[in-house]
Amino acid sequence: MANGEQLNNKAGITLMQLLVLGLFFLIALRLWYFQIYNGQEYARKATDNLIQQQSIYAPRGLIRDRDGTILAENKPAYGLAIIREDSRDIEAALRQASQWTEVPLQEVREKFKAGKERVKPFKRQLLIRNLDYQTLAEIETHLMEWPEFRIITLPLRHYPHGRVVSHILGYVAQADEKELQNNPELQLGDTIGKQGLELSFQEALRGDKGLKQLEVNAQGRELKNSIIEEPVPGKDLTLTIDLDLQQHAWEQLGNHTGVVVVLEPFSGDIQALVSKPAYNNNLFVQGIDQETWHGLLSDPDHPLQNRAIQSSYPPGSVFKLVVAPCALNNGAVTPEKEFFCPGHYKLGRRVFRCWRKGGHGWMDMREAIKQSCDVYFYKVGEKLGVDAISAYARKYGFNAKTGINLPNENPGLIPSKEWKLRRFGRRWQGGETLNLSIGQGYTLVTPLQVARHLGALVNGGYLLKPNLIEDAEPTVQQELPLKQSERDMVIQSMLAAVEEPHGTCWRLRTKNATVGGKTGTAQVVKLKEEDREKETEEIRYKFRDHAWMASFAQQGKQTYVVVVLIEHGGHGSSAAGPVAKAVFDHLFSKE
């Protein structure tokens, strides 16, 4: 039978033979196409694979004060990075990393997972920053056993003076996911400015990264290491801030929550900008932990807030420096026009009080500013009306950002009839005009706005942009609508407030210096009748008034504007006055 079963499918055999032939030619042709026809191209790509490019960090620009003292510098720091493709067991590697650094394993895992997408194969992925020297030494000794790990050097920003200048400098911190996405030049682990000058001057400070090329052979050994592009260091910044002065003002505030601004009126340069309490900006550089961060956010004293520019307060009587020239300018009163102050003023059925219970008696404008008589200004304000005051105040730069080179500035608020209707849907009340004319009610200003305004009074009427960077050309933003006589009137009254009997600013009297000032006591809430009788110390802290001192002083060629605000400090004169005086003493002692 076997013979009879001779294959009847010759065609099948032929088919298989043809298939073998076809296989040979198809694959051979394709191989020729890859290896001969395109061989050089692929050889070049293989060589490219051998070349690894690493970026070189550019040192961030330093920040110095006006005397050259370093305020922000870079320190070398070490980080642990992983190359995924060099790892035989990623999980074991992460465990080891956690063990070395004492960072919880879960956190290491999350960091690894989060960063994985951003780092190309065979590139170093930063796992843990800022290794301390002991950890570094331990890792170094075990590095041979863990081919996937690399130690990388990263510059670490350091602020040697911490809190005292933290609101000005701000801080750098690791770029977050969103920032990495928006800026392709940023790599995982890069830090960028997030607050303060570090943020506003990010572009100038950061510099440009360099590029290093590493060539490796088949065994992974480094053959060549060449720098293709040198890093360009960031530009250094020199500030107008005087660290000694800043420090001194900081100390003078003691335990108070408050602000000190020291400004040169003829240039707009800021020599001190203290906001207290502050925060340690070094915490952010190293990656702030959740607990500390939430602690800072929920702190009732808001240490993250730069009160000099980001908080606004009712100006209180400081606002009389705006209302008085406004009245002259409008022709509502002459300087000589006198009003009688019995200690209160009746509008309809409401009684508006003067801060001096017994009243000031007959007051002209100079005396009213000097003694800060409220009734005088109620009457002037009533004559002017809200919109005249509001329009005039805006010409003094209120209700607008000062344009200082710091982020998140608060514009403050000057109310008007139209504003109230829009905001509350209700009409403006006559009593509110009276409140406005003594700087209460809705009116809000930042300490820096007040300093800029005073600077303009002193320098002849030019509203200058407050400046933090040395050798910047003064920028005139506006000219005050102020006649010489009106300006003299205001300045003379402020000088009188310091020098003459009954002046509210007598605490500022300084030997050999011409000093002028205006106090302010900004009501936080309307006090009840019985509370008015009490001394400040007895009123509960958060109901106490904010204390203002807006002042200027001249000695020889030096002229300074000093604005002090103390939150819940009580009376401007007693709380803020001594701080301003101490600052002037420091300024003039340097000669």
């Binding site: 040979f24 293989a46 190309k120």
Partner: protein
């Protein structure tokens, strides 16, 4: 057992043994290179090639075991084997443990084993027996019966999911059917019908499989993900150019830019280090190896032996073609190894086993006058 006949030795296809061994040896050498792992201090090798040698030794024994009995006895065993495979596959689907997202392995005490391989063998034998029992070319009813028999285990394999092996089986059977020949009407309707049916298969694919096909069409759409293998393996092969970079000197392979380099992409390692000349040599070896099987099929004294050899032919043919085409970017990435070169226990043993069966056929091509 019949008394030993000297003709068994003289008729043995010595070239087939020789080429099998040469291919295996090349495979082990290539795995030695593919096993090296870069570390900071240089190259260390891990033990794929050593294990492969062990699998080869086992395979060699299995090969002899597949030669000693008369292959025609298998004819009576085909249904038992078929039932056993279907049973195991069903058990795996119902109770199997998932490893890497698929239920493919049955773990015995010391080794794990893939029922898929047994299924391949049993379907091949069943088809050979079935086709050898039919005198004329296939008509519709006979073809449909065969297809039904084949689809039962194949579907279970595809459900594991192991699309690669499933398609592999279908292709083997398809090849055997073509060798058998189809009635003209059947042949023509298939010629028209199959290409029309193919696109509907898209809807049965898993997402990762669709992904692979899309990536095949345009590897650059995902250069760091699934396109990475394709791009890097093509760079490896292409950069071998005419003469190759030399043994252990392939930068793509040694620096591990190549994933899966010891299994499905092992040809890329070879191509990089041995170049066009080496690849042509390897390709020629494969073709001569295949031709030896065709010769055996041609000279076989019975239909069963012929179809058994044809089945083995297609088993190897499709794997070689698909694997090389995949690595060379002519096909989407499917998990099909290159016979004798890719690392793998089950596949190495079954390869030797199948070669043993073909040798069995070749040994007995002139004997058994008595039937």
């Amino acid at each position: 057992m019949a008394p030993f006949d000297r003709r068994l030795i003289s008729h043995l296809s010595w070239p087939l043994i020789l080429f099998t061994l040469v291919l295996f040896a090349l495979g082990v050498m290539n795995l030695y290179s593919a096993s090296s792992l870069r570390v900071e201090t240089g190259v260390t090798t891990i033990f794929f090639y050593k294990k492969q040698l062990v699998w080869g030794a086992v395979g060699f024994v299995v090969m002899f075991a597949c030669m000693v009995f008369d292959y025609r006895h298998l004819k009576s065993l085909v249904w038992t084997l078929y039932a056993l495979s279907v049973g195991l596959l069903a058990w795996l689907l119902l109770f199997g443990e998932q490893i890497y997202g698929a239920k493919r392995w049955i773990s015995l005490r010391y080794v794990s084993f893939q029922p898929t391989e047994l299924a391949k063998l049993s379907i091949l034998l069943l088809t050979a027996a079935y086709l050898s029992g039919i005198q004329e070319k296939l008509d519709w009813p006979r073809l449909c019966k065969l297809v039904a028999l084949v689809l039962v285990p194949t579907t279970m394999i595809i459900l594991q999911p192991d699309l690669g092996s499933g398609l592999n089986i279908l292709l083997i059977i398809f090849g055997m059917v073509l060798v058998k020949g189809l009635k003209k009407r059947v042949f023509l309707s298939l010629l028209v019908g199959l290409p029309l049916l193919a696109p509907s298969g898209w809807f049965f694919l898993h997402d990762y499989q669709k992904e692979r096909i899309l990536t095949f069409l345009n590897p650059e759409r995902d250069p760091l993900g699934s396109g990475y293998n394709i791009i890097q393996s093509q760079i490896a092969i292409g950069s071998g150019q005419m003469w190759g970079k030399g043994f252990l000197a392939g930068t793509q392979s040694q620096l591990r830019f190549l994933p899966e380099k010891h299994t499905d992409f092992v040809f890329a390692v070879f191509g990089e280090e041995w170049g066009f000349i080496g690849c042509l040599l390897l390709l020629s070896l494969f073709c001569i190896f295949l031709y030896q099987i065709v010769l055996t099929a041609q000279e076989s004294k019975d239909q069963f032996g012929a179809f058994l050899s044809a089945g083995v032919f297609f088993y190897f043919f499709w794997q070689i073609l698909i694997n090389m085409a995949m690595v060379l970017g002519l096909m989407p990435v499917v998990g099909i190894p290159l016979p004798f070169l890719s690392y793998g226990g089950s596949s190495t043993i079954i390869n030797f086993c199948l070669v043993g069966l073909v040798l069995n056929v070749s040994m007995r091509r002139f004997v058994f006058k008595r039937g």
